[in-house]
Amino acid sequence: MNDSSRVEGILIQQNGKIVPLVGVDIQADIAGRGAKVKIFQQFKNIEKKSIETVYKFPLPENAAICGFRALIDGRIVEGQIEEKEKAFELYDKALSEGHKAQLMDEERPNIFTLSVGNIKPGGSVIIEITYITLLDSYNSEVRFFLPTTISPRFTPASQEDENGIPASALVNPPFEFKVPYGLTINVNIAGRKTIASIESPSHSIKTSFKNNEARITFSADKVSMDRDFILTIIYENDFTNRAYICRADDETFLQIDLTPAEATEENQANDLPKGREIVFVLDCSGSMQGDSIEEAKKALEILIKALSTDMIFNIYCFGNEYDHLFKSSKPCNEKSVKEALKYLSKTEAAMGGTEILPPLADIYKEDPADGFRRDVILMTDGEISNEDEVMELVSRHNNTTALSAVGIGNGPNEFLIKAVARVAGGASEMIAPQERIEPKVLRLFQKVVAGRIGNLKIDCGSDIDQAPACPVAFMRQATSIFARIKSRDFQGKGVTVNQYNYQGDVLRKWDIDLEEVNDEAMPISKLWAREKIRELEEGDGLPEGSRQRQRLDDKKQKTVIDLSRQYGIISRSTSFIGIEKSADTEKSTSDMVLRVVPTAVTKGWHGMSSIPLFLRRSPVEQYSIRKRQDSPTEVHEDIAIPTFLRRADSGKELFSPFRKAAEGIRNMLSQRGKSDPLLDILSQQRLGGGFNMNKRLCDILQISDSKLSSLADDMQMKKSADRLEILTTAIILVFLELKFGDRRDEWEAVVSKSRRELEDQIKKFNPTIDGEPLLDWAKKFIKEKLIAL
């Protein structure tokens, strides 16, 4: 490459094509769960002819994109919302007439196409895109997620073209292994004193504090746009139920964040059958190669061992074709579990493309057996382009089957994972390649077993338009429900959220006080509109109709376009269009050169450059910042600590960066090659429930075989039974409680059958040691052990 090919960061690709995208900058403000994000994309034309550039890029699937403007040679051109095809006509006509124009289309809720036309030789354009969103939360943790690249989407041969254009052309940009442009970021998090830790599992970050804000930047000046950016913020306190009210024009909007501490007993809630059928569906397509498939298999092994004996289960694996363990689900017993483990051990990610639809259609073709309700747990990277068809299938069956989804692998398709779970009344989890899969899968399993909290309605004493109409909540995670009141004069001070059963009786209710907020600072109107549009686009509650989501009938599409225009947010039926009319002397109607910006292949995609397992962080090994508890006035201005040197296990100390750095490295090195003790314990659970002591468990508990045997001999019981197993199970359950209380979400559901069995045995045999009930004795015993450890 010669010097002339490098101008202000623009490089010529190896194939000789010029890439006009210079770089991308992100400015984000986070307060609690709310985030306002501005994206700046800078383009420059170094060629001798005018250019039109097209750039496909991803955004979070739930973002309400409410701002689009261009900065052209110091002038600002504001974008307007227009119906999608009309917007293209305006754009195309403007370019035909020699004007400058910019267009942004939504191909999928997480894939967008930007077209910038008529950039003159030597000219530059900066595009500014603004979106607002509510971040996913769990207990006190929120997750800021920003995709930077699109992973190649698999398009099944049967997929119909969209308005005569193949879906693959709409969602897949041209891919290159390296692209010349990079990313810079600046995230400000409000409420510094409320933040317990900040961590990025995806990038090396720098944290500094100023006034009441934490500021996050990359450790490097600029990073490659080859993976999702993820920031995990843990606040000092768990999220609780909150309700907000704001007024905009002649309307009032409500936002209720419901974070139930406990699940409602689902049998009671929905009169559902008591039997449970769990069907695991594992993506074994080529894109899962590498660590993804191995960790997914490990998580599945633990889940299968955790199933109760009164459950029935099955496993499906899919790629281009699909395969299943049993013809139909079988009861969970020693024989079936052994078969399942053998089946999993032979499973590899070598089944070709990602065809999710056929295995799901096979599962859904028959209703669950009488007396059973079915949960499907889908583990996939979701790199497909026929999301609408998959969603249509699962939503059609959501009265008999809930589907929960785990997004794994490199560059998983967030839209598919979340939307498919949303329309199927299930839960979802996204897992970054640098995070361990098992803990989050266990957490999801907990949500599935504990059950969803559905049929929620806001009652505020006025007529409301609620969105979503039928929200589903899960315990410990915040679920936002919005409402519009067609009056500015609403005077209510509080709202009630009711959960109903199928007979229309109120099962549970939450009374929440309203806090007045400003629509500028917290634009609930736009979030309500986004939710409303999403519901129309995803077809929630709509009668069965076309298989293609984009074929909304005229009435629904008109509603989407009206909402999109009224509240200034983009949809799949509308686009942002900006036009700057040129003076006659500046008009250029000569041939423009089309420059399509290539996208970097996601790092680790198809097992390429994957991250070694030993470098991944399990939760106990995570490093993060914990602010100093005993010195609230301490200020750390612009202290740069690479993320991998941070830890957050105690909460008592911080923040001598150099000492911590050394400690962090020592911890990290000492953890290499070691497994997670919690997962090791869970994997030792017997199929029928209970634990048998073995070498690994003895090592973790620091107790010898002989000591345990002598304790078992000392145990007083009404009748003779397997003393050692009862004692071991009691010790393990207490150990989990005391040692891993902060990771309860991962183990509680998994060991529920052991707990039930132990409770039965305690009731039957009333075991005691030194005159104390077994569990009381075990608590003391483990407490002493932990102090000694």
Binding site: E85, F88, E89, D92, L95, S96, E97, T155, A157, Q159, E160, D161, N163, G164, I165, P166, S168, A169, T589, S590, D591, M592, L594
Partner: protein, 138 residues
């Protein structure tokens, strides 16, 4: 031998992209996509403001007939590649006129003349000898 050169316009009616859309039922975006992908020839004239001719309509209607049979664009492209390429008349063609005898002439496209000049000259020679011979015979 007299050889005269002239331009002959093969197609007369020109359409804007709006008219093309109305006539074929395709959106402006879809037409631009087909042009970009080489499924439809670029418009005549400069830049986006160029014009389209009947040949463009034929190309779009051919795509439509595939789509009506349920064949998507991706499959269509591979089908088209397998098929013998169908020559599409260019919008403007340079013809070379050879006068055989007064009142009789042969028009040869410049493309053909460049491709097989010897053959063309032989045809002209034979045509002339036949024409003259026949006339002589009469």
């Amino acid at each position: 031998m007299t050889v005269k050169c002239y331009y002959k316009t093969m197609e007369k009616k020109a359409y804007t992209i709006e008219e093309l859309g109305e006539l074929t039922g395709y959106t402006r975006r879809t037409i631009r996509y087909y042009v970009q992908e080489g499924l439809v020839d670029p418009p005549a004239g400069r830049g986006r403001g160029g014009f389209y001719y009947d040949s463009h309509i034929q190309q779009l209607l051919r795509i439509k007939s595939f789509q009506e049979k349920g064949i998507g664009i991706t499959a269509m492209v591979s089908l088209m590649q397998k098929e013998a390429p169908q020559p599409i008349l260019p919008s403007r063609e340079v013809m070379i006129r050879y006068e055989i005898v007064p009142g009789m002439e042969i028009n040869i496209s410049r493309e053909m003349e460049i491709k097989e000049p010897k053959k063309i000259l032989e045809i002209i020679r034979i045509a002339k000898s036949i024409a003259k011979g026949e006339m002589n015979n009469e």
